[in-house]
């Protein structure tokens, strides 16, 4: 005879309770409560025939796959159990109670009176197996629980593990460091991380794993859980996992994609790599006469830039244009973007006219090159120089006529006032 019970609480009794129970009877109670609950059974009264290992009359409490208790008698002995004040808890949301009496009873036994209630299961404190527990935070509530994640993580579709958004990592520098998220702490689960190294065509990227390398693996199958895959141009590399990092990788490509996949389990600390890019080499350069190259290196390669500048008093001349510096770049094909220009002595050229003024050169052949000198003066006695300077200008290294006080600015010639050349007699009083 089976009784199905689905309420959140209730009570059961032996047949005829509180009168003695009949012999040769069997009753089974199946109690089912909602998921997220377990069942607590406790006896208010227990009086059964005792027998060795309760082979005669008994009350057996069990779940689908285990016997939780087997009671009989009126008090606990080394071979018989009575519930006493103890409650019996089911691990899950199902409990079956079987009452059985055999065909004879030596005396009158009043049987039992038991109660049961559904009790919330606190999954957050009880879940042991990794498969089921929350990855970061667990929140229990009556009848269930849910998981949440630390800042910066997203709850995965399994509602349990926490993944990160890491699909847009773009590296455009010629060198760089790439690591798994949170490295060297364990990397997040359930994540798909994409790292792209995108450099200008002409560069060749090399990868070098560093420090520790700890990606969940499997002794027999190649990287079934977590893995790194690398795509460089038409080449594909990996998957890589385990604790032995791959050797240096020269991708021969300027564009590299790295995929890092993690599943929803494992506590591995991840990986770190450095990358660098090199291009074709360009010929070594010689500085121009009266000039220098910066930076001066034994070797130059694609994208390297050098600045050509001249000694003081000289100017870079390129295609008849004068400038202070000139930049050349090592191109993809290993040639320089421009020929090295020459350094020509700075030439201030003809000085600007000064209204109502005169210019005298300090050299007979009216030199205008670096360090040459001229002198401005005003048409005396009718004009005077303002400010009152020597009027001496020197051709500077920048190729401009420069005065110690005014710099590149010219003075002005102002008319002299109130000074007639023909003076008159002293004023009479």
């Amino acid at each position: 005879h089976t009784v199905e019970l689905n309420d959140m609480f209730g009570h059961i009794q032996s047949p005829g309770y509180p009168d003695s129970y009949p012999s040769d009877s069997e009753v089974m109670w199946n109690i089912t409560v909602p998921e997220g609950f377990r069942i607590k059974l406790y006896f208010m009264h227990f009086d059964l025939e005792s027998s060795y290992l309760c082979e005669y009359d008994y009350v057996k409490v069990e779940t689908e796959d285990q016997v939780l208790a087997n009671f009989c008698g009126r008090e606990t002995t080394d071979t018989e159990q009575t519930p006493g004040q103890e409650a019996i808890l089911s691990p899950g949301s199902f409990m079956s109670i079987t009452f059985r009496s055999d065909f004879s009873n030596e005396e009158r036994y009043t049987g039992f009176d038991a109660h049961y209630m559904a009790m919330d299961v606190d999954e957050c404190t009880e879940r042991e197996d990794e498969e089921l527990s929350c990855d970061h935070y667990c929140h229990n509530y009556i009848g269930g629980y849910y998981c949440s994640c630390r800042f910066g993580y997203l709850l995965h579709t399994d509602n349990r593990t926490c993944r990160v958004e890491c699909s847009d990592n773009l590296f455009t520098q010629r060198t760089g460091i790439i690591t798994s998220p949170d490295f060297p702490n364990p990397y997040p689960k359930s994540s798909e991380c994409f790292y792209t190294i995108e450099l200008e065509e002409g560069f060749r990227v090399s990868l070098q794993f560093e420090d520790l390398f700890d990606i969940e693996d499997h002794p027999d199958v190649s990287c079934p859980y977590d893995y790194i895959k690398i795509k460089a141009g038409l080449k594909s590399l990996g998957p890589f996992c385990g604790e032995k990092a791959p050797g240096p990788i020269n991708t021969q490509s300027h564009s590299v994609q790295i995929l890092f996949h993690s599943d929803n389990s494992g506590e591995n600390r991840g990986w770190k790599l450095s990358y660098s890019a090199a291009g074709n080499d360009c010929p070594v350069l010689q500085p121009p006469v009266h000039g220098k190259i910066e930076p001066l290196q034994a070797k130059y390669s694609f994208k390297d830039q050098v600045l050509i500048s001249c000694d003081t008093g000289y100017k870079v001349q390129k295609d008849n244009v004068e400038m202070d510096t000139f930049q050349v770049e090592c191109l993809k094909d290993g040639s320089w973007s421009n020929k090295i220009p020459i350094c020509k002595v700075a030439d201030c050229r003809a000085p600007a006219e000064l209204e109502h003024g005169l210019i005298t050169f300090s050299t007979r052949n009216n030199l205008t090159t670096y360090k040459s000198e001229i002198r401005y003066s005003c048409q005396q006695p009718y004009y005077k120089m303002l400010p009152n300077i020597t009027g001496i200008y020197t051709c500077s290294a920048q190729g401009t006529w420069t005065n110690k006080i005014l710099g590149r600015k010219l003075p002005t010639c102002l008319p002299v006032c109130g000074l007639p050349k023909v003076s008159r007699k002293l004023m009479a009083r």
């Binding site: 109502h356 048409q379 008319p415 007639p420 050349k421 023909v422 004023m427």
Partner: protein
């Protein structure tokens, strides 16, 4: 110029002659910097109706109605060093009153700069008020005694008169001598500027700097050379800021 003497060539290189197109001089002036002539405001407009002394733009003379001659010595004869310059614009002092001759100062901008030489040179602006009792020189081609015009530039050397004295002298005639005016002459009269000298320079020597500067411009008076009737001039130091604001000229 009443009771004056002939100017020695080259001693007054700043003097300018304002002439009508036909060559008739009608006022004097002084070269400031290289582009400006300072003269009397009353030289720069037509004669007004005595009954209606309000100045309109239409009363102003047009820049094309006159020209400036620098380096001039003879009144009518041409000089070998004279330079004829056209006028770009004229500017009267904003507070000029044609009835009281207050702020009787005007500026003429030249179309082109003259060439400076021994006979053409600007006058300095004053650095401060003239000394008490300073002697000043007034020059011009204006009328002499008996209303005759001179052949050459004439000048007088007269003392600056105390402002109160001058005010008293003209109070009897109900004429007001204001702070923008300065007087000069002898009490007994004699040496004086006269018609045709208007706008011309009154200068004196700054002994420290050794430079001549403009003290005033010939403005008005009661007749010419009369006793107790000092010549009244537009006081340049009083209006120096305005002049420098308009012309930008610095000594």
């Amino acid at each position: 110029i009443f009771n004056g003497r002939q100017v020695q060539k080259g001693t007054t290189p700043w003097i300018a002659m304002l002439t009508h197109p036909g060559g008739q001089p009608f006022c004097g002036g002084s070269l400031l910097g290289t582009n400006w002539i300072v003269t009397a405001a009353h030289c720069l407009h037509q004669l007004l109706d005595p009954e209606n002394q309000i100045l309109h733009d239409s009363d102003l003379i047009r820049p094309s109605d006159f020209k400036i001659i620098l380096g001039k010595h003879w009144r009518l004869q041409s000089d070998e060093n004279e330079q004829h310059l056209m006028v770009k614009r004229i500017i009267l002092h904003p507070l000029y009153s044609p009835t009281t001759f207050e702020n009787d100062v005007g500026l003429v901008e030249l179309l082109k700069s003259p060439m400076l030489n021994d006979f053409v040179m600007p006058i300095c602006l004053p650095e401060g008020p003239p000394e008490e009792g300073a002697m000043v020189i007034v020059s011009g081609w204006g009328k002499q005694f008996l209303q005759r015009f001179p052949d050459t530039l004439m000048e007088i050397e007269i003392p600056i008169v105390d402002h109160r004295t001058c005010q008293d002298a003209y109070a009897q005639l109900r004429k007001n001598v204001t702070a923008d005016m300065i007087c000069a002459g002898e009490k007994e009269g004699g040496k004086d500027a006269c018609a045709g000298d208007s706008g011309g320079p009154m200068v004196t020597l700054d002994k420290e700097r050794g430079q001549w500067y403009l003290v005033g411009t010939v403005s008005w008076g009661d007749d010419c050379g009369k006793k107790d009737r000092y010549g009244v001039y537009s006081y340049i130091h009083h209006n120096k800021n305005w002049i420098q604001m308009v012309t930008g000229v610095r000594n």
